[in-house]
Symmetry: C2
Subunit: 292 residues, 2 copies
């Protein structure tokens, strides 16, 4: 079986490297060639273009930061849909709107290409350990066919339902991640103002009803170390909470706190926190309070 992986970023590179450990023929493709070199050093194959990969792979996977990237890699003239052979299975791990997933699915179907939306949760540590959560939308028989490939990269692998439903659940996940990030930020800003010992506060709250996986991630990996190299960049969380708001509007829903968090992330993004880990929201809320 010939596998292709497009997008060797923070998530894609460790995922593709895990595939190399199990499958003989795994091709990688990335815009910046440094990542391709790292992939080749880990035993991955490189050197084929996107049209060549779409023409020859059995399964082509994409993991890209922005919806526009996903749109291009599928819909461009040198993209997957224009060049893919009938019977190709395409799997997108990116976080995009259910609508984009469904549009790719529909266009792929016309070419007899099978498409799954399969967004992931777990961050770079989960990608490296092969313990990602993967939430899949599309045809169930195609899911069953590629499940062994997904199992190399993830631990909790779910078939959700029709095309777009993987993306939908991922956006709900991101809505909660965004709100939990703000909960952590406001809690610690208050703790700081009260002069409470941070490690003890974390320990108590993590054993109480304040517990969340995001609290543990943000505190132990970033805030406690005062180290905010991503991780998951704040601008990417904002991209996701923005997709949530667009989805909510389309459904005529008002999600008031989701909306406020999206707005606060937008502010933080344009205040110098775009490229820092999302946990730097704590620093932004702190700074906002110091200013006022």
């Amino acid at each position: 079986m010939k596998l292709a992986f497009v997008g060797l970023g923070n998530m894609g590179l460790p995922m593709a490297k895990n595939l190399v450990k199990v499958y003989d023929t795994v091709y990688g493709l990335n815009r910046s060639k440094g990542k391709e070199e790292l992939f080749a050093q880990a035993g991955g194959k490189v050197g084929l273009s996107l049209p060549e990969l779409a023409q020859t792979a059995d399964v082509i996977m994409t993991c890209l930061p922005l919806p526009e990237d996903v749109h291009n890699v599928y819909f461009a003239d040198d993209g997957i849909l224009a060049n893919g052979h009938p019977g190709l299975v395409a799997i997108d791990f990116s976080t995009v709107s259910p609508e984009l997933s469904q549009n790719i699915y529909a266009a792929a179907s016309e070419k007899n290409i099978d498409f799954l939306d399969a967004p992931i949760s777990g961050g770079p540590p989960g990608a490296e350990a092969g313990t990602l959560s993967i939430m899949v939308g599309g045809k169930e028989e195609i899911f069953a066919k590629v499940k062994p490939v997904l199992e190399v990269m993830g631990k909790n692998i779910y078939y959700v339902g029709p095309s777009g439903s993987g993306s939908a659940v991922k956006l709900i996940n991101q809505l909660m991640v965004g709100i939990h990030t703000q909960a952590v930020s406001e809690a610690l800003v208050l703790a700081k103002a009260l002069g409470l010992p941070f490690d003890k506060v974390f320990d108590i709250l993590n054993n109480s009803f304040a517990q969340s996986r995001i609290f543990e991630r943000h505190y132990t990996q970033f805030i406690a170390k005062d180290h905010y190299e991503p991780g998951f960049a704040l601008e990417l969380l904002h991209k996701d909470t923005n997709l949530v708001q667009e989805l909510a509007e389309k459904k005529n829903l008002n999600l008031p706190v989701g909306q406020q968090v999206n707005e606060l992330l937008r502010e933080a993004k344009s205040s110098g926190y775009a490229k820092e880990d999302m946990s730097s929201m704590y620093k932004f809320i702190q700074e906002k309070n110091n200013r006022s």
Copy 2:
């Protein structure tokens, strides 16, 4: 050792019953006498008034729903401070402002009564199982003295720092509980609008970065069963988020999402959800969207 427990409610009754299993002399006192009967049936002693308990107990504990109740039980003429003997240890498990805790502490000190603020987290199931988190403020040597008593009721028992710091950490916990409750509500309202299967969505998110103890509590114990008998009444969560806002204002802090959640809880409270479990916020957000 003679113990007294004032306030045999949802939390107090199971806590006091656990004390009865270990200590010979545990007196209970409650406004409504039905709870006292339940306590007596479990082997507890009843029949002494608050002044009598304050005059004769070694340790007197209070667990009351509202700050005004706590204020009265300590400061009234027939209350603990006016009647307590020198050397009495008083422990308050209620959720109140750090300021009230410190005021009681100061007034108690003048009477040579030792006072600890010791709010709890874990809900009625934690109270019954004796696995509460207890976060304690006050003198460390008094904490050490009564720790064996606390260990009968809790599993994670923390000395935080000076008087009021137990209450401070508890309010931070409640800030996070309030925000997490809203996160669950908005996430499930969106999932419903998208027609996604709830059990599967919960299972996926609970294994992803959306995980929180509140999500698990709200979903499995209440929302999945469509059953909202408390538990922890929504009006009590609102009381707590309100205390958080008062504390933030006193510190000149703006906690924007905490403030919005407090406002939404106020709305839900006056829309018929006051006495339902706090997880009924999901129903309120749903209803608010259906109305608009």
